[in-house]
Amino acid sequence: SFFTVFIVLSALLLLFLVLPLLNMILNPGNIQNAIFDSEVINSLLISLKAAGTATVIALYIGVPISYLLSRYHFFGKNVVEAIIDIPMAIPHAVIGIMILAFYYGTSIGRGFESIGFKIVDNFWGIVTVMLYVGLPYMVNSARDGFLMVDEELENVSRTLGASRAKTFFKISLPLIKNNIVSGSILTFARGISEVGAILVIAYFPKTAPVLILDRFNQYGLTASKPISVIMIILSILLFSVFR
């Protein structure tokens, strides 16, 4: 019947998604080796540090615009919203090419270079890429939060004597704490997951995903499995917190 067909198709989908993961976790290869492999540890540290840095920056520049977008209507608002979605629309490898072309091809980019801000094969290049791909997640999470905060709360706060800024920090921001946390986790997760754009901008210092590809290309599947399992565990931990 109708129901049976639906349940069978659903089971198929679930198996397709979960079996590769289960197989990986049950046959992780030699994890011990990986844990004592300084290249693995370094790549993980670089991934975490870069993603963390990008997340903090995203917080500071992403929350203000999400507040403005949730509270005000202005001419060109949909253009602004479209700009924020750019990193989600464009293939990752292309994003790398775009950022590199901007850095090398424009006076602004060369200006950054001349003051010593390097991105090619540099930690800050990784941060730049992670920030670029992660910002939409931060902005969208925070905006969804602000949209759920009843504007009357802010109105009442002002009639009770709080200025606009005080109202933002005492009422609006505390109320979207959960959205800020989940926006940060998504931005962070998006960052450590990125590989396409990083391959273009900064093959070195190697992030964990780059190292996985590197090991796979040089030594094959078995060599890349243990690092992959570590990444899986890390990602699943992050997502459990998110939920």
Partner: protein
């Protein structure tokens, strides 16, 4: 005390046109159907939105451009807008904390106002766990604790169960004795029971302003219609007749045949218990009549209708 001078404002789908109004230090009701722009007026008074043109004065001072945080007007929105992450106590204390009052002073005032409003035992609860009535008291306490110059209430009973509505109206009467109130509503019962001054607002325009006499003598057709009067034409003149100022009788029950009466047929009956509402078809008009609940007329019966009072609407 509070004076609006030619205030106009377009805001979302609402539009206020040229409202002038002077409220004294007592209980003022702004009465109007939903969508009349009542909330826009109250938001203009709080300072949250600025009028497009016109002035607002308080005790003679022009406050049109004063930001809300410097007016000290208490505001209780329709949904109460309690801060959901703070306890009742913290909600009430919020304004005093912002003002940097001492812990001791805050504690004393919050307890005083909570006692007055009977919410002492819920001070530690979070707003989401409160009943509608408790939420409303908390919102009122949060405003009153700052000794506001005026208390602004936006449809205070709209979000409440009908069962507690009547109690709330009595409570508001008490509050009106300690602070001047501007209360907007679409509910005639609230307006009749509470209003010392009543302004009628229809389609963003001020239609009448006065005491509760305005229910008795509608000034024009628009108001009469809004207040539920029958509009009848007698000898080519227009009159308003209140449904409760009609008498409906079976033709054979009529005692005094000299009185002016109209033949009609009962179209529909709605039974409210204490009274019944009849629609009586007279010529091609349908006239609403209120009769006692004990009346036993049936749909389709022929009746005679008398008007105890007619208000002439030039």
């Amino acid at each position: 005390m509070l004076k609006l001078e030619n205030v106009s404002k377009s805001w979302k789908e609402f539009k206020l046109s040229n409202i002038s109004l002077e409220m004294d230090k007592n209980y003022c009701i702004l009465l109007g159907p939903s969508g009349a722009g009542k909330s826009v007026i109250i938001q203009c008074i709080t300072g949250i939105i600025k009028p497009d043109s016109g002035k607002i004065y308080f005790n003679g001072e022009d406050i049109t451009n004063l930001p809300p945080e410097r007016r000290n007007f208490g505001y209780v929105p329709q949904n109460y807008a309690l801060f959901p992450n703070m306890s009742v106590y913290k909600n009430i204390a919020y304004g005093m904390k912002i003002r940097g009052r001492s812990k001791l002073e805050i504690d004393k005032k919050v307890l005083d106002i909570s006692e007055f409003l009977g919410i002492t035992r819920i001070l530690n609860r979070k707003p989401l766990t409160l009943s509608g009535g408790e939420q409303q008291r908390t919102a009122i306490a949060r405003a009153l604790v700052l000794d506001p110059k005026i208390l602004l209430l936006d449809e205070p009973t709209a979000a409440l169960d009908t069962s507690i509505k009547e109690n709330v109206i009595s409570e508001l009467k008490k509050i009106g004795e300690i602070v001047p109130v501007v209360h907007i509503t679409h509910d005639f019962v609230e307006a009749r029971t509470l209003g010392n001054q009543i302004a009628i607002l229809i389609n963003g325009e001020l239609n009448d302003f006065g005491d509760s006499e305005i229910f008795k003598t509608p000034k024009n057709e628009k108001i009469a219609k809004f207040l539920g009067y029958n509009l009848v034409k007698i000898e080519n003149k227009n009159y308003a007749v209140a449904p409760e100022e009609t008498v409906v009788k079976r033709p054979n029950e009529v005692q005094n045949p000299i009185e002016q009466h109209y033949f009609g047929k009962v179209e529909s009956i709605v039974d409210f218990g204490y009274y019944r509402k009849l629609n009586v078809k007279i010529d091609e008009y349908s006239v609403k009549c209120i009769t006692k609940g004990t009346n036993n007329l049936k749909i389709g019966e022929d009746v005679k209708v008398f008007y105890k009072r007619k208000i002439s609407l030039n």
